[in-house]
Symmetry: C2
């Protein structure tokens, strides 16, 4: 069997999260993001398309780096207004059977004991369909609103995240033994207390005695996603992640990235293929190549420059309003800024800032596959085989129009080629990603090797 493609649908609980300005498209429905019915429709659409899951980006603050103000971000609906994605999941789960739900939650602002209960709860409610995109957060506005004096530097954030993972692994994997709930009426024992252990975690950043407040869910630990692109981020992913989101713009870059991540995984005693790699991709489908290209132009014309540059400024912590948008990137004096654009426009330095920002802005960094269903499927197969990836994180220009087109036109083409499932393999997210029977973390995952000390809180 050909290597199978896995798909995730990229979303956020805001208006036009990854394509600023596209709320202006006549068919865009993002303004409905506060309605349950909107999320149920999207979930059912992705399940019809046999996606592994829907993946929610999230931040906890406004974008206020551009022009040193929150106003451009607010005006152009740059991931704003933003609602909590976790709170939509049980409604979507009640209207679907197989689709997974992976959400971004930050290790910097949510206490691990609280997060552990959130994800255990959702994994119970969905019968094992939950994933977690582990982030350490990057916006200064999040830090300031959530009780810190300022953003923690990357080194410290990752050190804290490493210990955070230790805490939640102990809670999910070691605190409650299998079969702890006995519900024995005779002895008035609902849970055998000898099978529930305090974790007594005492580290540099966290002290958590435990035990976990919730009984183990079907997957125990949710499927672990991560998206760090820095070297620190990749090391963290190599150790913890079961799937990685990434951004690459050509198949050579993709190949190099995959090779790097897989070799880092081996260095921490995991297998090369223990980590599924999902580059972000924006599909723009037409019945002819020309139609697709015209569609791309139409979408570009609705993209908001101020919105796109606000989001870029926030991601990088650099206020781009100091640069003339019509100057050539190659004329910018700061190496770091030129380097950033290299990443997005593939070293084509004759671009202006405006051109590069607009190119990047549609589908927020995603590589764009523009063409007929056959052309898009060709490109996907090429990336699968040459780029050594496992699937794609499908981004949207219009919501849910992009998903709708993709499910209607590209999915059948992938199925025809034997590249894509026609039925789900299992009912849990991990099974659909790693095969029937793989409900819980693999035995060689670091979480499985953690020991908890002998309980002292008796």
């Amino acid at each position: 069997m050909k290597k199978q493609i896995h798909l995730l649908g990229f979303a956020q609980n805001s208006v036009a999260p990854h394509s600023p300005g596209l709320w202006r498209h006549p068919k865009d429905e993002g303004q409905r993001h506060g309605e349950i019915s909107y999320w149920i429709e999207i979930a059912q659409l992705l399940e019809e398309g046999k996606f592994d899951g829907i993946f929610f980006a999230d931040v906890y603050g406004v974008y206020n780096v551009y022009r040193n103000s929150y106003k451009p971000g607010i005006q152009h609906a740059v991931q704003s207004p933003l609602h909590d994605p976790l709170l939509t999941i049980s409604a979507m789960a009640s209207a679907t059977k197989n689709l997974g739900f992976a959400s971004t939650i930050s290790t910097t602002y949510i206490q691990p004991y609280y997060l552990a209960r959130q994800l255990t709860t959702l994994d119970h409610l969905t019968k094992g369909r939950i994933g977690w995109n582990i982030v350490t957060s990057y916006l200064e506005s999040e830090a300031l609103n959530l009780g810190l004096k300022g953003k923690i530097n990357r080194e410290e954030r990752y050190a804290r995240a490493a210990e955070y993972m230790e805490v939640v692994y102990k809670l999910w994997e070691k605190s409650w033994e299998d079969g702890a709930i006995v519900a024995d009426k005779e002895s008035d024992t609902y849970t055998d207390p000898e099978k529930v252990h305090a974790i007594n975690h005492k580290g540099k950043y966290f002290e958590v005695p435990g035990p976990h407040i919730s009984n183990p869910s079907p997957q125990r630990t949710p499927v672990l996603f991560q998206a760090g692109a820095s070297s620190k981020g990749r090391d963290f992913a190599a150790k913890n992640a079961e799937a990685i989101f990434c951004v690459q713009h050509d198949v050579e870059g993709m190949k190099a990235f995959s090779k790097d991540v897989r070799s880092r995984a081996k260095q921490v005693d995991r297998n090369e293929d223990d980590i599924l790699i999902f580059p972000a991709m924006l599909p723009i489908v037409g019945s002819t190549e020309e139609e697709a290209k015209n569609k791309y132009k139409e979408l570009q014309s609705l993209l908001s420059y101020d919105g796109a540059v606000s989001i870029l400024s926030g991601h990088l912590g650099v206020d781009f309003s100091v640069y003339d948008p019509d100057q050539y990137i190659e004329n910018i004096e700061t190496d770091a800024i030129r380097g950033v654009f290299d990443l997005y426009v593939g070293g084509k330095k004759k671009w202006t800032i405006r051109e590069a920002v607009m190119h990047r802005g549609l589908g927020n960094e995603s590589v764009k596959f523009v063409g007929t269903p056959e052309q898009i499927a060709d490109e996907m197969e090429l990336w699968m085989d040459e780029g050594d990836i496992n699937g794609f994180n499908i981004n949207q220009a219009t919501t849910p129009g992009t998903f709708r087109d993709f499910v209607k036109y590209v999915v059948p083409e992938l199925q025809k080629r034997g590249r894509y499932r026609t039925e789900y393999e299992g009912t849990t997210l991990r099974e659909n990603m790693f095969g029937k029977g793989n409900i819980q973390l693999a035995d060689n995952h670091p979480a499985k090797k953690i020991n908890i000390s002998v309980p002292t809180l008796q």
Copy 2:
């Protein structure tokens, strides 16, 4: 029209939360609390019974005061295992139209900026059916697991909570003006940034620049519930609460409590009837008085003493294992402990500890109304009129058996007497509690009078 009775259904996302041991009842379904279908069934049942809402208790830690160990609590399913109630709400909302959802969230462990988004999100998803039970938390095990060195004393908790409310009021009521979202395609303006304000809160406990990350929901501020019984708690409620949960055991005590709360409300320039008062009540219905009494006995026989005393020890922070359960309360040397029992058994000091604990344990402190539908309705009317209350927080012995019996037998009796709605007044929780058109906080509520300073974060 006779003064109308309002009803809330008291729940928690655990097995037999307020009647330890009752999971052993042959018809109890609490073990299904991890399933979405369980919560949808309960929500539909309460909506069929025209309840104002379902009210979720919650804690973030295990009960480990009794015997200085978490083991008795774990063994007897004392609010354990416990899942997150907020995450069930969107599923219940998608299966109902009018029922409200009020959940307990602590001001001590969740950052106000994060909580504000959670509740705004849910109020959007439910189209205005959200309430918040404001608690400051009492379990040491919560503090230790959630990043504190130990429990904060009551004085400090309430001072912190007062400032917390200021922060969330600013976010909900003052950060986004009405009509801020204009979705004007011509000017590429989704939100008018001049109508969105930073709150620039700088206080003793919190610094929150804002603006709120989410646009205003139908109710803006969720309906505010509170349950503090201490003098500090009552003052807090008088200032902030729109509804109070309380525990009283006879109509005289109820009357005194209501008088006290209503006079405190007047002292802070609110009206006597701005606060709805809901005592906890466990209804045990029979077709005859004898049948009801036998049912009470049967339920008592399934109550777990160790479970009930674990929960009491946790509530009071006193390890009752040091006392012989069969000693008379009047012989206990500690005044404070005797005083506590006075509260539950109405000064009948010839009770043993065991008798008092078992009496208290069924429906966790609730007053018990045991009898025919007519007798229960009589008692409810008496409390309404003499006790000067607005309704009841209906507790359960078996779940959802108690709700089922109440909806089937008592609700029609109340309707027959003209004491209870046959149709909902509105679609938001606040309208169903305060009448059609009262969607947002009353103008005389302190939250409406808060000023935010001129934004400095531009």
